[in-house]
Each structure stands twice: as structure tokens, then as C-alpha cells.
């Protein structure tokens, strides 16, 4: 314990930053890209939970009204498709960081700290799509329950579900915009 405490007391940010200076800026940004692409995929949490919840509610609803299974399945898949966009956002961001990170080649003009932090930040930003995936999946589940209970109101239920999901979508789009801004129109890089 005491050794750890002593180590923490000797911690010096300057020394750490100097340690990074031994690398080329390009190498540092590439390392950050590897880490950032992985972090971006964390947003897959949300749609995973949400679409699973939708599947459960739909299965339950199909059990209650086996005759309506077609309508229930259709609404479940429609709702899940909306929830899946969060996962696709994170996949797009992960692939962009991996294969076409424009910050990699800017090491000569800009401090590497900005480039590394922006790359990591782009990955972190897209985690915001998590909530969208959970919420839209819940809406999909409730929508399929509604269709099983009142098949005649199918179109009204679907319309309400899609409208609500579109509103829930906005936060995911905000996260994507900030991530793309950090990568492609970074205000810290003139």
C-alpha cells in the first residue's frame, strides 16, 4: 500500500507527457484510434438491451394473442429497426476511426495532445447513442403489446410508436454529430 502511495505522490503529468514525446505524433494518434474504435463500440450496449426487451415483450404478447402473431412480429421488427440505428451509428464511428481518421496525418501542424484527445473523444461521444437504443427498444416492445391487445388500432399504434422513437433518436444523432465534428471539422485545429 505504502509503495503505491509513494508512487502516486511522485506522479508528475509533465513526466508522463514527456514519456509520450518519444513517439511520433502519427503513432500516438494511431494508438488512440485503436482505443477509440473500441470505446465507440460500447454504444452497442443500448440497442442490445432495447431490442432484447422488445423481443421479450413481443413474445409475451404473441402468447396472449397467438392469432395476431403476424402483426406483433411486424411491429416488433419495425421498432427494433429503429433501435438498431444506435448500434449502426457506433459501428460507423468505429470503422471511420479505424480506416479514415483524418487526424492521423496532422501531427506536423497540431499538438499531438489535441489529436489524441479528439480521437478518443469521438469514440466516447458516440456512447451517447446507448440511451436511444434502450428507449426505442422499450417502445417497440410496448408497441407490439398494444397491437396484440387491439389489432384494429394497428396503424395508430405504429404511428405513435414511430413518432416517439423519432424523438428518442435525436440524442443519438447529437452524439454522432459531435463525434463527426471532432474527426472532420475539429474547431481546435485551424
Amino acid at each position: 500500500m505504502e509503495e503505491i502511495w509513494e508512487f502516486l505522490q511522485t506522479f508528475d503529468l509533465e513526466v508522463l507527457l514527456a514519456w509520450f514525446e518519444q513517439f511520433e505524433p502519427r503513432e500516438l494518434v494511431l494508438a488512440a484510434s485503436g482505443l477509440g474504435a473500441g470505446i465507440a463500440m460500447l454504444a452497442g450496449l443500448g440497442p442490445g438491451i432495447g431490442m432484447g426487451v422488445a423481443a421479450g415483450m413481443a413474445a409475451n404478447a404473441a402468447g396472449r394473442a397467438p392469432r395476431e402473431v403476424r402483426g406483433v412480429t411486424l411491429v416488433m421488427l419495425m421498432g427494433q429497426a429503429m433501435a438498431a440505428t444506435a448500434g449502426i451509428f457506433s459501428l460507423v464511428m468505429g470503422l471511420l476511426i479505424l480506416y479514415s481518421n483524418p487526424l492521423t496525418e496532422m501531427g506536423d501542424a497540431v499538438s499531438w495532445t489535441i489529436l489524441v484527445a479528439s480521437t478518443l473523444g469521438a469514440g466516447v461521444a458516440i456512447i451517447g447513442a446507448t440511451g436511444q437504443g434502450i428507449g426505442q427498444g422499450y417502445a417497440a416492445g410496448k408497441g407490439s403489446e398494444g397491437v396484440a391487445a387491439r389489432p384494429k388500432w394497428h396503424s395508430v399504434i405504429v404511428r405513435t410508436m414511430l413518432l416517439g422513437q423519432a424523438v428518442a433518436q435525436t440524442t443519438g444523432i447529437y452524439a454522432l454529430i459531435i463525434g463527426l465534428l471532432l474527426l472532420f471539422a475539429n474547431p481546435f485545429i485551424q
Partner: protein
């Protein structure tokens, strides 16, 4: 002394690990689906075919995000474009 390539590999390994945390979501969601499915089959055993079909279809869709994360992790490990 650590070379730049080693640093990139190390960070990629961390990233591959971080990517797989996304598996939590698919696990929770599919578990919930399985629970609801069991609940429905218990209530109405005669509808089990319909229930299981719907549950598996939905769970398969929920699986996709886990697979996305797996693809990125495998890319980072075995086909790393950064090196």
C-alpha cells in the same frame, strides 16, 4: 524503450477489450426476452410455437450489436489497419 508500433498494438488490444463490453447489452436484452418467453409459455403452453418463434426472431435482431462489437474487436486484433 517502447516502439511506436508496440504502443499502437497495446492501445489496439485495450480497444478490442473495451469494444466487447458491448456484449453486456445483448446479454441483458436476450435474457429478458427469454424470461418473458418462458412466462408466456407457462401461461399458455398451447401457444409455445408462436412464442418461441417470436422470441428467437427478436433475440436474433438483438444479437447484431454484439456481433458489430465482435467484428471491430477481431479487426483490431487480426486485421489492424493502424499498423
Amino acid at each position: 524503450m517502447i516502439s511506436g508500433e508496440e504502443l499502437i498494438s497495446a492501445a489496439s488490444a485495450l480497444g478490442a477489450g473495451a469494444a466487447m463490453i458491448a456484449g453486456i447489452g445483448a446479454g441483458i436484452g436476450q435474457g429478458f426476452a427469454a424470461g418473458k418467453g418462458a412466462e408466456a409459455v407457462g401461461r399458455q403452453p398451447e401457444a409455445q410455437g408462436v412464442v418461441i418463434r417470436t422470441m428467437l426472431l427478436g433475440a436474433a435482431v438483438a444479437e447484431t450489436t454484439g456481433i458489430y462489437a465482435l467484428v471491430i474487436a477481431l479487426l483490431l486484433l487480426f486485421a489492424n489497419p493502424l499498423l
